[in-house]
Symmetry: C2
């Protein structure tokens, strides 16, 4: 896992060389005047799909439905998707339920795009267009670089959809930012998180993708029960279990989401929670992160810093992050 | 909370008297040949939206996108929803972020339908069509009857969409089934759940709505950290924290989803987990539930039995389920 995390900057550099592939796919979605998007994914890759969903909804105004693969694989639904695109996200491209959903989407009239690390796979063969993640072989059970690569692909697709050349150019800063993120010291978070019986990861908007991914990685690699919420959803019930010393890891945002995150942190601190904040503003952050030109890039940078941190934490807890008991690298569900 | 749970059978009887309202709304969606649906909801009502999403995707083949209210309220996105319907779910109809999202959906071309307990509310005023839940005033912080009423409305909308008169007729058995569900004895589950440091609620397909709602109620009323997963998603990482005596509450399904739930229970039992199953087949169930004619009704019946159970558990744990500390009945988020 650690060696794959350190490969992230090089992967991003390869993706920049191939950025035209993602850009053209985004432009094509715009030219085809698609009416909406459905996504098809599981696990970590599904969190990348969440990032893509927020990007396309907030910056392109397109509705994005995350469809449970069971809708096709268990219930055999005939989807009606004329004028839609189906975007699949997968590292291995082999889980049968994903192939079933992609097939049902195609049969229902959707154009299918697969964002895959292993392009040569059943999902890749069934897709109208394959966008390779270029992470190289990923062997650790806990996916890391492939997730970051899917976030990059999502950003580049959005840039192409909007024909936003400034955003495309700004993507070039990401390998350098990832390199800085690998060097961050979040060790002060280790003990508060480890002693919290369970914990929350919180963000808002596109950052929710990283909060969800962090919660999954805490489970997979550290065997800590973490759950992700938006800073708004938190107050529709989940805040009830936040007591003294309950740890909450915030993936901060800049711009319009910032005030709602600030408000949430204040309430949680008043309940005695241990609040940790990853934010590019060093005055505010308890966990540092480098500052990117685009606030839309923050979740990608946060995920790199988090992966570096959680891998160490897992080892300090006596776990084996490379091979968590009971998990397989390639999970095939039906 | 307890008194409101006991009002559920009467509420369902009122909904049956008004079933034409929901049926006509469903028929209208079909006649208008809508291309897709977006939902707008928070908290417990958002779990009802999840039920509606699975119903419409599996039985009508329509894509349903759950859009985070922040897309409108924080990011000010201009949604493009020509040919879509926006269906909002809310008890009070007052959270400003929901009104913002509904407004953005309407501005983007969607027809707006609001399923509300308080029809006379900002959400109701802004909607093209209001479908009242008819639960009567709900005062307990933890919503119960309004959730069940939203599941009923979802089933009746689907029946109308499909012009399924058999399903419409079958709805009439629900008040009786709810009455039986209020009489179930799930007390054997109390101690295993209470001693589990944290726990999972698991189902598949439409049952996921009840698993998610149960997880929220465990937090809100019992201050137990429970998280919901599909039986497939569980194996893409979350299973890692399941050790000896970890409690997992399954909301069972009949038909095509049954084998995947069976397989998941087997794996979890092999890890030493304490697996509890609510299922209409008394031979298989550790937690009994009455058997409905339609498997699509099972989640509604399960939710009634669960509410009865969790309210008692909260009191046995020394909590006050009517007024959990730090929560308000009407949560207004922006």
């Amino acid at each position: 896992m650690a060696s794959e995390i350190f490969e992230i900057p090089d992967m991003l550099a390869r993706q920049i060389d191939a950025v035209g592939t993602y850009w053209n796919a985004g432009r094509r979605l715009e030219e085809d005047r698609i009416r909406g998007i459905v996504t098809c994914a599981r696990g970590t890759s599904d969190h990348a799909a969440t990032f893509f969903k927020y990007l396309m909804e907030t910056h392109a105004g397109l509705p994005v439905a995350s469809i449970g693969p069971s809708v096709a694989s268990v219930y055999g639904s005939k989807l009606r998707l004329e004028g839609f695109a189906c975007v699949s996200f997968s590292q291995s491209g082999t889980s049968p339920d994903l192939a079933r959903l992609q097939g049902a989407a195609k049969a229902g009239g959707a154009r299918t795009i697969a964002i895959l690390n292993a392009a040569d796979s059943p999902l890749g063969e069934g897709a109208d267009m394959v966008l390779p993640v270029l992470a190289g072989p990923e062997r650790a059970v806990a996916a890391t670089k492939s997730f970051v690569g899917m976030l990059f692909a999502s950003l580049a697709i959005l840039a192409g959809y909007r024909q936003d050349r400034d955003m495309k150019a700004a993507l070039e800063e990401l390998p350098g930012l990832a390199l800085q993120a690998l060097d961050l010291d979040w060790s002060s978070a280790a003990i508060p998180l480890a002693r919290s019986g369970s914990l929350y990861c919180v963000s808002r908007g596109p950052g929710l993708a990283v909060a969800a991914e962090a919660a999954l990685k805490f489970k997979e690699t550290c065997r800590l029960h973490a759950e992700a919420f938006s800073a708004a959803e938190l107050f529709h019930g989940p805040v009830a279990i936040v007591r003294e010393r309950f740890a909450v890891l915030f993936f901060g945002a800049r711009g319009s989401a910032e005030s709602s995150l600030d408000e949430a942190m204040k309430v949680l601190r008043n309940r005695g929670a241990c609040v940790l904040l990853a934010h590019p503003d060093r005055e505010r952050a308890s966990l540092a992160m480098p500052c990117s030109r685009h606030e839309a890039f923050d979740p990608l940078v946060q995920s790199v810093g988090f992966y570096r941190f959680v891998e160490r934490l897992a080892r300090d807890l006596g776990e084996d992050p490379d091979a968590p008991p009971g998990l397989k690298k390639v999970t095939k569900t039906v």
